[in-house]
Protein backbone atom coordinates (compact mmCIF):
# COMPACT_ATOMS: atom_id res chain seq x y z
CA UNK A 1 0.00 0.00 0.00
CA UNK A 2 1.09 3.59 -0.55
CA UNK A 3 0.20 7.15 0.42
CA UNK A 4 1.32 10.22 -1.52
CA UNK A 5 0.96 13.58 0.15
CA UNK A 6 1.24 16.84 -1.78
CA UNK A 7 0.50 20.28 -0.34
CA UNK A 8 -3.04 20.25 -1.74
CA UNK A 9 -3.96 16.59 -2.39
CA UNK A 10 -3.45 13.03 -1.23
CA UNK A 11 -3.53 9.68 -2.99
CA UNK A 12 -4.04 6.61 -0.80
CA UNK A 13 -3.82 3.18 -2.41
CA UNK A 14 -4.32 0.20 -0.12
CA UNK A 15 -4.67 -3.53 -0.74
CA UNK A 16 -5.61 -6.56 1.39
CA UNK A 17 -8.42 -6.08 3.89
CA UNK A 18 -7.67 -2.44 4.65
CA UNK A 19 -10.47 -0.07 5.66
CA UNK A 20 -9.49 2.84 3.45
CA UNK A 21 -12.57 5.01 3.85
CA UNK A 22 -12.43 4.86 7.65
CA UNK A 23 -9.68 7.49 7.57
CA UNK A 24 -12.06 10.16 6.27
CA UNK A 25 -13.51 11.36 9.58
CA UNK A 26 -10.14 11.80 11.27
CA UNK A 27 -8.54 13.20 8.13
CA UNK A 28 -11.12 15.98 7.85
CA UNK A 29 -10.89 16.55 11.59
CA UNK A 30 -7.17 17.26 11.17
CA UNK A 31 -7.79 19.39 8.07
CA UNK A 32 -10.28 21.56 9.94
CA UNK A 33 -8.48 21.88 13.27
CA UNK A 34 -4.80 21.82 12.34
CA UNK A 35 -4.81 23.43 8.91
CA UNK A 36 -7.86 25.60 9.51
CA UNK A 37 -9.23 24.69 6.07
CA UNK A 38 -12.95 25.31 5.71
CA UNK A 39 -14.29 22.90 3.08
CA UNK A 40 -17.80 22.51 4.45
CA UNK A 41 -20.76 23.02 2.16
CA UNK A 42 -24.16 24.46 3.15
CA UNK A 43 -25.49 20.97 3.79
CA UNK A 44 -22.64 20.32 6.32
CA UNK A 45 -20.99 17.87 3.95
CA UNK A 46 -17.49 18.46 2.60
CA UNK A 47 -16.93 19.98 -0.82
CA UNK A 48 -13.23 19.72 -1.68
CA UNK A 49 -11.98 20.44 -5.18
CA UNK A 50 -12.32 16.83 -6.38
CA UNK A 51 -12.69 13.32 -4.94
CA UNK A 52 -11.99 10.02 -6.68
CA UNK A 53 -12.49 6.59 -5.15
CA UNK A 54 -12.09 3.48 -7.27
CA UNK A 55 -11.35 -0.19 -7.16
CA UNK A 56 -11.46 -3.24 -9.32
CA UNK A 57 -13.99 -5.75 -8.00
CA UNK A 58 -12.48 -7.91 -5.27
CA UNK A 59 -11.46 -11.52 -5.67
CA UNK A 60 -12.67 -12.32 -2.12
CA UNK A 61 -15.29 -9.67 -1.30
CA UNK A 62 -16.65 -11.47 1.75
CA UNK A 63 -13.22 -11.40 3.40
CA UNK A 64 -13.26 -7.58 3.29
CA UNK A 65 -14.26 -5.69 6.42
CA UNK A 66 -17.41 -3.71 7.09
CA UNK A 67 -18.53 -1.37 4.26
CA UNK A 68 -15.79 -2.65 1.96
CA UNK A 69 -17.64 -5.92 1.38
CA UNK A 70 -20.08 -4.11 -0.90
CA UNK A 71 -19.67 -1.26 -3.40
CA UNK A 72 -23.06 0.29 -2.62
CA UNK A 73 -22.16 0.50 1.08
CA UNK A 74 -18.92 2.25 0.19
CA UNK A 75 -20.81 4.75 -1.95
CA UNK A 76 -23.34 5.40 0.85
CA UNK A 77 -20.44 6.05 3.21
CA UNK A 78 -18.77 8.45 0.76
CA UNK A 79 -22.05 10.28 0.24
CA UNK A 80 -22.24 10.97 3.97
CA UNK A 81 -19.01 12.96 3.65
CA UNK A 82 -19.07 14.53 0.21
CA UNK A 83 -21.42 16.59 -1.95
CA UNK A 84 -22.22 15.81 -5.55
CA UNK A 85 -20.73 12.32 -5.75
CA UNK A 86 -21.54 9.98 -8.63
CA UNK A 87 -20.97 6.25 -8.85
CA UNK A 88 -20.08 4.32 -12.02
CA UNK A 89 -19.47 0.71 -12.92
CA UNK A 90 -16.82 0.47 -15.60
CA UNK A 91 -16.54 -2.61 -17.81
CA UNK A 92 -18.92 -5.50 -18.37
CA UNK A 93 -21.38 -6.08 -15.56
CA UNK A 94 -21.46 -9.83 -16.15
CA UNK A 95 -17.73 -10.20 -15.58
CA UNK A 96 -16.01 -10.56 -12.24
CA UNK A 97 -13.25 -8.15 -13.15
CA UNK A 98 -15.23 -4.94 -13.66
CA UNK A 99 -14.15 -1.71 -12.08
CA UNK A 100 -16.02 0.68 -9.77
CA UNK A 101 -15.58 4.43 -9.63
CA UNK A 102 -16.92 7.19 -7.41
CA UNK A 103 -16.15 10.75 -8.48
CA UNK A 104 -17.36 14.08 -7.15
CA UNK A 105 -18.14 17.14 -9.22
CA UNK A 106 -15.24 19.53 -9.57
CA UNK A 107 -15.51 22.56 -7.32
CA UNK A 108 -15.14 25.06 -10.13
CA UNK A 109 -15.22 28.15 -7.89
CA UNK A 110 -11.69 27.18 -6.79
CA UNK A 111 -10.37 27.31 -10.34
CA UNK A 112 -8.67 30.39 -11.70
CA UNK A 113 -6.24 31.27 -14.46
CA UNK A 114 -3.48 31.65 -11.88
CA UNK A 115 -3.88 28.13 -10.57
CA UNK A 116 -4.60 26.32 -13.84
CA UNK A 117 -1.43 24.24 -13.60
CA UNK A 118 -3.36 21.03 -12.97
CA UNK A 119 -4.72 21.07 -16.52
CA UNK A 120 -2.12 18.46 -17.52
CA UNK A 121 -3.10 16.09 -14.72
CA UNK A 122 -3.23 12.49 -15.92
CA UNK A 123 -3.24 9.06 -14.30
CA UNK A 124 -2.46 5.72 -15.90
CA UNK A 125 -3.42 2.55 -14.06
CA UNK A 126 -2.84 -1.07 -15.16
CA UNK A 127 -4.45 -3.85 -13.11
CA UNK A 128 -3.21 -7.34 -13.93
CA UNK A 129 -4.32 -10.85 -12.90
CA UNK A 130 -3.08 -14.33 -13.75
CA UNK A 131 0.61 -13.40 -13.74
CA UNK A 132 3.01 -15.66 -15.59
CA UNK A 133 4.35 -18.04 -12.85
CA UNK A 134 8.00 -17.37 -13.74
CA UNK A 135 7.36 -13.61 -13.52
CA UNK A 136 5.43 -13.96 -10.25
CA UNK A 137 8.26 -16.00 -8.70
CA UNK A 138 10.54 -12.97 -8.92
CA UNK A 139 8.43 -11.39 -6.15
CA UNK A 140 8.83 -14.27 -3.68
CA UNK A 141 11.64 -13.91 -1.18
CA UNK A 142 10.81 -16.12 1.84
CA UNK A 143 13.06 -14.04 4.05
CA UNK A 144 12.90 -14.82 7.73
CA UNK A 145 10.40 -12.73 9.65
CA UNK A 146 12.07 -11.93 12.94
CA UNK A 147 10.35 -12.07 16.27
CA UNK A 148 12.22 -9.14 17.75
CA UNK A 149 11.32 -6.22 19.92
CA UNK A 150 13.36 -3.10 19.32
CA UNK A 151 14.33 -1.11 22.36
CA UNK A 152 14.54 2.68 22.35
CA UNK A 153 18.33 2.29 22.23
CA UNK A 154 17.92 0.31 19.03
CA UNK A 155 16.97 3.54 17.31
CA UNK A 156 13.95 1.97 15.63
CA UNK A 157 13.07 4.97 13.50
CA UNK A 158 16.53 6.23 12.61
CA UNK A 159 17.80 7.11 9.16
CA UNK A 160 20.26 4.23 9.26
CA UNK A 161 18.41 1.76 7.05
CA UNK A 162 21.27 0.15 5.15
CA UNK A 163 20.78 -3.16 6.98
CA UNK A 164 17.02 -3.29 6.53
CA UNK A 165 16.46 -6.62 4.79
CA UNK A 166 12.92 -5.97 3.52
CA UNK A 167 14.00 -2.75 1.83
CA UNK A 168 17.23 -4.28 0.51
CA UNK A 169 15.35 -7.21 -1.07
CA UNK A 170 12.78 -4.78 -2.45
CA UNK A 171 15.60 -2.80 -4.06
CA UNK A 172 17.01 -6.02 -5.56
CA UNK A 173 13.57 -6.98 -6.96
CA UNK A 174 13.28 -3.58 -8.63
CA UNK A 175 16.72 -3.94 -10.23
CA UNK A 176 16.21 -7.55 -11.29
CA UNK A 177 12.83 -6.94 -12.91
CA UNK A 178 13.91 -3.57 -14.42
CA UNK A 179 10.91 -1.84 -12.88
CA UNK A 180 13.18 1.18 -12.45
CA UNK A 181 13.32 1.42 -16.26
CA UNK A 182 9.62 1.64 -17.02
CA UNK A 183 10.27 5.23 -18.13
CA UNK A 184 13.36 6.22 -20.09
CA UNK A 185 15.20 8.91 -18.16
CA UNK A 186 18.62 10.53 -18.16
CA UNK A 187 20.95 12.00 -15.55
CA UNK A 188 18.97 15.27 -15.55
CA UNK A 189 15.84 13.54 -14.29
CA UNK A 190 15.80 13.18 -10.51
CA UNK A 191 14.87 9.69 -9.35
CA UNK A 192 13.88 8.46 -5.88
CA UNK A 193 13.04 4.87 -5.11
CA UNK A 194 11.55 3.06 -2.11
CA UNK A 195 10.64 -0.62 -2.33
CA UNK A 196 9.84 -3.39 0.13
CA UNK A 197 9.81 -7.17 -0.26
CA UNK A 198 7.18 -8.72 1.98
CA UNK A 199 7.59 -12.13 3.54
CA UNK A 200 6.73 -14.77 2.48
CA UNK A 201 6.00 -12.93 -0.76
CA UNK A 202 4.79 -9.67 -2.24
CA UNK A 203 6.32 -6.37 -3.27
CA UNK A 204 5.48 -2.68 -3.07
CA UNK A 205 7.42 0.24 -4.49
CA UNK A 206 7.13 3.99 -4.82
CA UNK A 207 9.25 5.76 -7.42
CA UNK A 208 9.39 9.55 -7.67
CA UNK A 209 10.52 11.30 -10.85
CA UNK A 210 11.45 14.98 -11.07
CA UNK A 211 10.53 15.38 -7.38
CA UNK A 212 6.81 15.71 -8.21
CA UNK A 213 5.57 12.70 -10.19
CA UNK A 214 5.26 9.12 -8.95
CA UNK A 215 4.66 5.65 -10.15
CA UNK A 216 3.82 2.85 -7.75
CA UNK A 217 3.66 -0.92 -8.04
CA UNK A 218 2.05 -3.52 -5.81
CA UNK A 219 2.37 -7.25 -6.40
CA UNK A 220 0.76 -10.25 -4.71
CA UNK A 221 2.26 -13.23 -6.58
CA UNK A 222 0.41 -16.12 -4.91
CA UNK A 223 -0.68 -18.87 -7.30
CA UNK A 224 -4.44 -18.88 -7.85
CA UNK A 225 -4.94 -15.17 -7.16
CA UNK A 226 -1.79 -13.51 -8.46
CA UNK A 227 -2.21 -9.79 -9.02
CA UNK A 228 -0.09 -6.76 -9.88
CA UNK A 229 -0.93 -3.11 -10.23
CA UNK A 230 0.89 -0.17 -11.77
CA UNK A 231 -0.25 3.39 -11.24
CA UNK A 232 1.44 6.53 -12.51
CA UNK A 233 0.86 10.26 -12.74
CA UNK A 234 4.06 10.80 -14.76
CA UNK A 235 3.26 12.93 -17.84
CA UNK A 236 5.18 10.83 -20.31
CA UNK A 237 5.00 13.36 -23.15
CA UNK A 238 6.59 16.01 -20.90
CA UNK A 239 9.29 13.53 -19.88
CA UNK A 240 9.95 12.75 -23.54
CA UNK A 241 10.37 16.46 -24.27
CA UNK A 242 12.69 17.00 -21.30
CA UNK A 243 14.93 14.01 -22.03
CA UNK A 244 14.76 13.98 -25.81
CA UNK A 245 13.97 10.26 -25.51
CA UNK A 246 10.91 9.48 -27.59
CA UNK A 247 8.41 7.47 -25.53
CA UNK A 248 4.71 7.28 -24.86
CA UNK A 249 2.31 5.42 -22.60
CA UNK A 250 2.08 2.54 -25.07
CA UNK A 251 5.83 1.96 -24.54
CA UNK A 252 5.28 2.16 -20.77
CA UNK A 253 2.36 -0.26 -21.03
CA UNK A 254 4.51 -2.72 -23.01
CA UNK A 255 7.37 -2.56 -20.49
CA UNK A 256 5.01 -3.22 -17.57
CA UNK A 257 3.42 -6.17 -19.38
CA UNK A 258 6.88 -7.62 -20.07
CA UNK A 259 7.55 -7.76 -16.33
CA UNK A 260 4.33 -9.59 -15.39
CA UNK A 261 2.96 -11.22 -18.59
CA UNK A 262 -0.56 -11.33 -17.10
CA UNK A 263 -3.41 -13.41 -18.48
CA UNK A 264 -5.98 -10.62 -18.02
CA UNK A 265 -5.63 -6.92 -17.47
CA UNK A 266 -7.48 -3.67 -17.56
CA UNK A 267 -6.00 -0.27 -18.28
CA UNK A 268 -7.56 3.00 -17.21
CA UNK A 269 -6.36 6.45 -18.17
CA UNK A 270 -7.71 9.69 -16.72
CA UNK A 271 -7.00 13.04 -18.31
CA UNK A 272 -8.58 16.46 -18.12
CA UNK A 273 -9.13 16.55 -21.85
CA UNK A 274 -9.36 14.19 -24.80
CA UNK A 275 -6.86 16.44 -26.54
CA UNK A 276 -4.21 15.26 -24.06
CA UNK A 277 -1.56 13.69 -26.35
CA UNK A 278 -1.36 10.54 -24.22
CA UNK A 279 -5.14 10.14 -24.32
CA UNK A 280 -5.07 10.49 -28.10
CA UNK A 281 -2.33 7.88 -28.51
CA UNK A 282 -3.87 5.37 -26.12
CA UNK A 283 -7.30 5.81 -27.69
CA UNK A 284 -5.88 4.86 -31.08
CA UNK A 285 -4.01 1.76 -29.91
CA UNK A 286 -4.14 -0.67 -32.81
CA UNK A 287 -4.31 -4.44 -32.76
CA UNK A 288 -0.56 -4.63 -33.28
CA UNK A 289 0.31 -2.13 -30.54
CA UNK A 290 0.28 -4.79 -27.84
CA UNK A 291 1.70 -8.07 -29.18
CA UNK A 292 0.24 -11.31 -27.72
CA UNK A 293 -2.82 -9.51 -26.31
CA UNK A 294 -6.35 -9.33 -27.62
CA UNK A 295 -8.42 -6.22 -26.99
CA UNK A 296 -11.74 -7.23 -25.42
CA UNK A 297 -13.27 -3.83 -24.63
CA UNK A 298 -12.58 -0.15 -25.11
CA UNK A 299 -14.89 2.31 -23.39
CA UNK A 300 -14.64 6.09 -23.08
CA UNK A 301 -16.40 7.95 -20.27
CA UNK A 302 -17.03 11.67 -20.46
CA UNK A 303 -17.02 12.56 -16.75
CA UNK A 304 -17.38 15.93 -15.10
CA UNK A 305 -14.10 17.71 -15.88
CA UNK A 306 -12.25 14.46 -16.76
CA UNK A 307 -12.14 11.93 -19.56
CA UNK A 308 -11.70 8.26 -18.71
CA UNK A 309 -10.43 5.66 -21.15
CA UNK A 310 -10.92 1.99 -20.19
CA UNK A 311 -9.43 -1.04 -21.94
CA UNK A 312 -9.70 -4.72 -21.14
CA UNK A 313 -7.16 -7.10 -22.68
CA UNK A 314 -6.64 -10.86 -22.60
CA UNK A 315 -3.48 -12.77 -23.43
CA UNK A 316 -3.87 -14.70 -26.70
Amino acid sequence: SSLFVYDHKITLKTCGTTTTLFCLEELFNVIEHELDWDLKHEDKKYFPYKVFYSRRCFMFPLKQRSIHKNWNDEVDYLNKFFCYGKSYMVGRNNQDDHWNLYVSDTRKDMQSEENAENENDETLEILMTGLDPACADKFVCNREVKDVVFSENNDNKSNDDADDEGHLLGYNMTKKTRLDKVYETDSNVSFHHDAFAFSPCGYSSNIILQNEYYYTLHVTPEKGWSYASFESNVPVSLLAQQTGKEQDNIDVFGRVLDVFKPKDLCLTFFAKSMSNPSFQKLMKMSKNSIPHYKKMDRIIYDLDDYQLLYYKFQRE
Binding site: S2, L3, F4, Y6, D7, H8, K9, L12, K13, T14, C15, T17, T18, C23, V30, E34, L35, W37, Y49, K50, V51, F52, Y53, S54, R55, R56, M59, F60, K63, M110, N115, N118, V145, K146, N154, N156, K157, S158, D161, D164, E165, G166, H167, Y171, K181, F191, H193, D194, F196, F198, P200, G202, S205, N206, N211, E212, T220, S226, Y227, S229
Partner: protein
Protein backbone atom coordinates in the same frame (compact mmCIF):
# COMPACT_ATOMS: atom_id res chain seq x y z
CA UNK B 1 17.66 4.31 -12.68
CA UNK B 2 17.76 3.24 -9.05
CA UNK B 3 21.12 3.23 -7.25
CA UNK B 4 22.16 1.69 -3.95
CA UNK B 5 22.18 5.11 -2.24
CA UNK B 6 18.37 4.94 -2.35
CA UNK B 7 18.65 2.52 0.57
CA UNK B 8 20.12 5.18 2.82
CA UNK B 9 18.12 8.34 2.24
CA UNK B 10 14.69 7.67 3.72
CA UNK B 11 13.17 10.50 5.72
CA UNK B 12 11.55 7.89 7.98
CA UNK B 13 11.85 4.14 8.39
CA UNK B 14 10.36 1.70 10.89
CA UNK B 15 12.95 -1.07 11.28
CA UNK B 16 10.93 -3.05 13.80
CA UNK B 17 7.89 -3.22 11.52
CA UNK B 18 10.13 -4.05 8.57
CA UNK B 19 11.70 -6.96 10.43
CA UNK B 20 8.52 -8.38 11.91
CA UNK B 21 5.87 -7.83 9.23
CA UNK B 22 4.31 -11.08 7.97
CA UNK B 23 2.10 -10.82 4.87
CA UNK B 24 0.85 -14.42 4.90
CA UNK B 25 -2.77 -13.31 5.32
CA UNK B 26 -2.66 -10.51 2.71
CA UNK B 27 -4.67 -12.54 0.23
CA UNK B 28 -6.50 -9.79 -1.70
CA UNK B 29 -4.58 -8.03 -4.46
CA UNK B 30 -7.01 -5.44 -5.89
CA UNK B 31 -6.53 -2.12 -4.13
CA UNK B 32 -8.84 0.62 -3.01
CA UNK B 33 -7.70 3.95 -4.44
CA UNK B 34 -8.76 7.19 -2.76
CA UNK B 35 -7.63 10.50 -4.19
CA UNK B 36 -8.74 13.77 -2.63
CA UNK B 37 -7.84 17.12 -4.14
CA UNK B 38 -8.61 19.57 -1.36
CA UNK B 39 -7.57 22.44 -3.65
CA UNK B 40 -6.66 22.43 -7.36
CA UNK B 41 -3.01 23.10 -6.48
CA UNK B 42 -0.78 24.67 -3.85
CA UNK B 43 -1.33 28.25 -5.00
CA UNK B 44 -5.09 27.91 -4.54
CA UNK B 45 -4.74 27.30 -0.79
CA UNK B 46 -5.98 30.43 1.02
CA UNK B 47 -2.87 32.55 1.62
CA UNK B 48 -3.33 33.55 5.27
CA UNK B 49 -3.71 29.90 6.12
CA UNK B 50 -0.29 28.91 4.84
CA UNK B 51 -0.34 25.44 6.36
CA UNK B 52 -0.68 22.61 3.88
CA UNK B 53 -1.18 18.85 4.02
CA UNK B 54 2.60 18.52 4.25
CA UNK B 55 2.49 20.48 7.51
CA UNK B 56 0.74 17.53 9.16
CA UNK B 57 3.21 15.67 11.40
CA UNK B 58 4.24 12.12 10.53
CA UNK B 59 2.84 10.91 13.86
CA UNK B 60 -0.58 12.23 12.84
CA UNK B 61 -0.42 10.38 9.50
CA UNK B 62 0.59 7.23 11.39
CA UNK B 63 -2.54 7.64 13.52
CA UNK B 64 -4.80 8.29 10.51
CA UNK B 65 -3.38 5.26 8.71
CA UNK B 66 -4.00 3.03 11.72
CA UNK B 67 -7.72 3.59 11.05
CA UNK B 68 -7.11 2.14 7.59
CA UNK B 69 -5.27 -0.88 9.11
CA UNK B 70 -1.99 0.24 7.60
CA UNK B 71 1.36 0.95 9.25
CA UNK B 72 4.10 3.16 7.83
CA UNK B 73 7.17 1.20 6.71
CA UNK B 74 9.12 4.13 5.28
CA UNK B 75 8.87 7.58 3.73
CA UNK B 76 10.74 9.34 0.93
CA UNK B 77 10.37 13.10 0.69
CA UNK B 78 11.15 15.65 -1.99
CA UNK B 79 10.55 19.40 -2.22
CA UNK B 80 7.07 18.72 -3.56
CA UNK B 81 5.75 15.52 -2.05
CA UNK B 82 6.02 12.80 0.59
CA UNK B 83 5.72 9.16 -0.52
CA UNK B 84 4.75 6.69 2.20
CA UNK B 85 5.34 2.96 1.76
CA UNK B 86 2.79 1.09 3.87
CA UNK B 87 2.21 -2.36 5.29
CA UNK B 88 -0.42 -4.70 3.71
Amino acid sequence: TVTIKELTNHSYIDHELSATLDSTEAFEGPEKLLEIWFYPNKTAIPVPKAKTLRSIAVEKWVHILKLVKCDVLSIKSTDTMDAFLLSE
